[in-house]
Amino acid sequence: MGIRIVKNYPSPRLMETIGATNQKPSEAIGELVANCFDARISDEKMEICVDMRDGKIVVLDNGKGMTDSVLEKAVCIAEDMSQHIERGQGAKGHFGMGFKTSCSTLGGFYEIYTRPIGNQKEYHVAFDISDYSLRPSGADAWDVQIEDSDFNINGPLENKSHGTAFVISHLKDKNITVSAVLSYLGEAFKGHIETGDSIVVIDDSGSYLAQPKKYDFIQGTKIDIDTACGPNDCFRITGWMALDKITHNDGLYGFNIYRNNQLVLKWDKSWFRAHLMTSRIIGEVNLDFLDATFYKQGLQQDEKWTIINVHMKEYLKDIVKASNTVSKQGNVSKPAVLKKIVDDLRNDYGEDPVIDAKTEPETSEPSKTADDTGKSVQGAIKNIVKERSLVLKKEGEILISYLEKSGSDKNRGAFDYIYDDTEDVAKLQVILFRDHPLFEKNPNWELMEIVATSDAIYRLLVETLSYDAYEARTIRNEWLWKRTAKGEIADE
């Protein structure tokens, strides 16, 4: 028996495989921008530029730059940079993975140009990912060449006295959507932008300043969050929450979770039961004490997260209740009811009532109209189809048509009918009111057509044609059976 020591180097292929993430280009650029913030010089405002011209992405900052010894560590995969530089509290980098992962996600070749503060040198390092894949394993495979030179004002750092530029080329996605990048950066670094840092995105069409995301919530429902949990209340959770003016069936609700001013979890719904009725809940919380995943698209589901979950579920109970109540029975359109809900909500969270709250009713976008009266059949009538006719012994054949109409009245049912026996052939028109609350959850419309028609048949027989309930039910069921039996409609 013997022992053999072997060299256990990772394969250089790793440089390529760490780029096989599901990060969107905007998220990968966001990760590089996050690195820029970690290079802040004491309290100076950061000016970050994302240049997407000429088939390259350049992320440039006015941070403190890196000396050659810092750069040497920074290019190592999974190096903990806190051991080598003073980053202070709130550093976003944690795993030493972010920029390598993101650069490899974005392109096949990347470079770093950096000018450390108080130094007349500029350092440069380049990574050709395809070259790494060809290198044999071993210590040499990971060698990196750091060049130093005097300031090159024709380079990406131009005439900056300090700062760093990441330049990614051989882009995987050659058609990155600038507006998506801009929108993501505005949302992801909202806290930084609001406190004076700036992020500019440049492409061939111009330069654009990232703006923080704006929300449109019911007035008076914005509640500040400042709560603590865990041993000795060591986990402090801050932020805000509110009720959106509209309900969502698009998933765009819940909490945006920030860690050190960077968005790490979008529209998280872990703290309440996701449902149309709770879909008004929106908010932003800061959980700086939690660890993000290595490319900051999520939080590590550790014990701290479990404690936060338990606490927040309890904390949010009152706003969940308010969201349910606002969304019920058109309450959002009833100013008096809405005001009471808002006041109760504020009271539940110890906030003062809103004086003279403008409880604007929820309005839907007006449909395009054919004339000034605002009426048009186009928006109002959704569908007219022929239904299976009804044949009665006494009355003969009754032709049935089915139409869907927009609008609804709270005192009316979800469907109704009009019967016309003044012509040679009797006709039954079934009407379904599409805006009735019954159809809020986007039902199976084909099924609804059958239900509405069978309801109309039963009502017609009882209300208008004076059939007794038993007989009407039998006729209705017969029609329903034929209508739903396979092939019947086709046979017609």
Binding site: K375, V377, A380, L399, S401, I418, E423
Partner: protein, 217 residues
Amino acid sequence: MNKTDALESIKEIWNNESASLGEKILKISTEFYASGLDVESTAAYVHTTESELAALLSLGEFDDELIGLISKVNPPKTTWTILSCASEEEARHALVEYSKYQQEKGEPVADDADKYFYQSMIGISGPTIEQKVSGLSASAIKHALKKGEDFNALNDKEVKFLKSISAQKKIGKVLSEKQINWLIAIFNKIITKGAIARNSIDGDQEICDKILDAMEK
């Protein structure tokens, strides 16, 4: 006039077979609105459905000339709801067309007068959102997919759906009603997220405009 008298009066004119449709529209709507009645109880009182009464009351919103035309053409009850939703221009057009049809054929549209009215109205009010969306090209849908993905606005199911739809459009397949409705819902989502916008900065203004025009946004 009190409510009971108004109800009686409405019932009387409602059941009066010699009264023209125009007379019924004018008298019933006047009585109804003058005495503060509600549709539910009035419909029950005259033994009709709420939809039939509501449609007739809505026809009273048209001007006298158009009510005169309605009276002359005397369209079937099954067209009232459609007429009540129409603009004056749409209603007038449908009534004239229907009248011509009757004169030419010597008989009313037998089976589906409601559909006939609807289609002649749509003929002048332009295509619906559904029709316009259905007419979008495969490349427009593909572009919406790319932008929707870039904005993280789509789930896996929606991505799959858009891919399949754009492939179907490419080979000239006509989309089903269900597919169009889903496509509209997805476009709404993408537009809400700002991925498709007027004055887009992504150099895709023409294609964004096409989608937004189809969606009437």
